[in-house]
Amino acid sequence: MAETIIMTGNTAAAIAAKLCQVQVVAAYPITPQTSIIETLSQFIESGALKAEYVRVESEHSAMTVCISASTVGARVFTSTSSHGLLYMHEQLHWAAGSRLPVVMCCVNRGVGAPWSIFNDQQDSIAQRDTGWIQLYCRDNQEIIDTVIQAYRIAEEVYAPVMVCYDGFVLSHTMMPVCVPDTETVNSFLPPYKPHTFLSAEKPRNINPVIFPGMRHNSEGVLCDGYMEMRYKLQEALEKARDVIVSVGMQYAKLTGRDYSELLWRYKTEDAEILLTGMGSIATEATVAVDQLRQEGIKAGVVGIRAYRPFPRKAIQEALKNAKALIVLEKDISYGFEGALCSDIKAALYGTGLNAPLHNYIAGLGGRDVKAREIYEAVKTSLEDMKSKKAQNKTIWINCRR
């Protein structure tokens, strides 16, 4: 029977990996992720999870071990944060390029310099173009549910999935989590059966140096070149939108929890002012929306679950009636604006929607983002947007300028 237990986001992630019966875990400790792999190593040591825990000397090696284990057909798990993720960067491309269904939790943390162990999303946003699917969670329930769904998605699309959630705000905060029972997870997620894998009986050379053109293999068959492989990875991620939705609907049927969309909505039916964001900041925005609605301001929240693949059509549909848009995010593309803001604008290009849009950069390096601050910023923006000159602005929230 499913049981509801108070637990941190990191415990939820570790339990999810256990329920998915991962076979290999390779990870290196880094705050605020460490308690995931501590919990997993306890599960493995006690025999509760039959898996191999490979201790490594770095995150680069952790991902390399995951890639190797996945190449021989194992279901693998790892998790990291911040500089650990940056150190993995090269191997992230290798995992995606090799089309391996690796699942990793990124417990979002700011990036140095200067050192910060606290939350923002610059780490995972900086890995946006590695070919990984990126899913963002808004609470601990979504962490356990998203990790479980991530294996189904990864193993169907043959692309790695990064499950991202805010460090400390979720990783170290205890909330009620309904833990699905083993039978439910088993019926949802069968054992991993790769379409191909490397074995000692059938040795092969994988990922050799490849020239710009297409190539003949040893049997004389004309095979994909680099460009074709890249095209196929792009196609796979485009296709992943439908897979994420169908997997989410199947999961919803089993658990009663709705994952039928690439995004989630809060009070959007009649909303004219739409706030969007990813992770816990979007949840905090729902509290601000309640305050705005008390004053008759028709506000709502559209939360982004899937960042890559980007839910272009779903966003166009969800934002089409907006009279004003606010994009909240815990990252910045230096020299331009928030990365999510650019993506949302790109998705809306050509739709005819020309609502004013303010981009809030907030919560960098763990600076707390309070509902009241969002509420006040939105009130100011709405006033400001009356001026033609202030239709498109980036605003730093709670930051001395």
Binding site: I6, T173, T283
Partner: protein, 182 residues
């Protein structure tokens, strides 16, 4: 929604208290959240932990700045940490101390309710260790009335196994022995 801030020292179990309280709260059909003060932790250093309990699903993800209740697990923190910082003027301050509540109220010049209990002595007697975190849950339950003391039974038994009864006895004593000054 009730918001509680706990003051303790690293290792005194403030985070465990927060977890037990939250688990017991969802057991009686409420919603709950708990978190430590974010960041590095050191044994013996002043730490804080936070609880939220509500009838509705809790959507707030930001910190607690104006708690309804403050629980002080270690009275040596008074003077070292501003324990009444942000505490609502009509809020409740619960201190583990041998002092009378009226004395603490005067010392901290706090306008709300002050309650004191010698939780360390109770813990020493009932548990054999001077760790007052579970004992102080009994004191808190008496003051906030969000659930019966019995509602914690299952959670404490699940967590502490063979030493659960001792913890429950300590909580009950704090519940009964707490002194209140309005």
């Amino acid at each position: 929604m009730i918001e509680v801030r706990w003051h303790g020292r690293g290792g005194q179990g403030a985070v465990t208290s927060v977890e037990l309280l939250a688990q017991a709260a969802i057991g009686v059909g409420k919603y709950a959240q708990g978190f430590p003060s974010f960041g590095p932790e050191r044994r013996g250093a002043p730490v804080a932990a936070f609880s939220r309990i509500d009838e509705k699903r809790i959507k707030v993800r930001s910190g607690i700045y104006k708690p309804d209740v403050v629980v002080v697990l270690d009275s040596s923190l008074i003077g070292l940490v501003n324990v009444t910082d942000g505490l609502k003027p009509d809020g409740i301050l619960i201190v583990n101390t041998t002092k009378a509540p009226a004395d603490v109220k005067k010392e901290l010049n706090f306008s709300g309710t002050v309650a004191t209990v010698d939780a360390t002595a109770i813990a020493r007697k009932e548990l054999g260790v001077p760790i007052a975190n579970t004992t102080m849950i009994g004191a808190l339950i008496k003051m906030i009335k969000v659930m019966e003391l019995d509602s914690l039974k299952e959670t404490v038994e699940h967590r502490f196994g063979r030493i659960a009864q001792k913890n429950l006895a300590a909580m009950k004593r704090a519940y009964e022995e707490i002194k209140i000054s309005n």
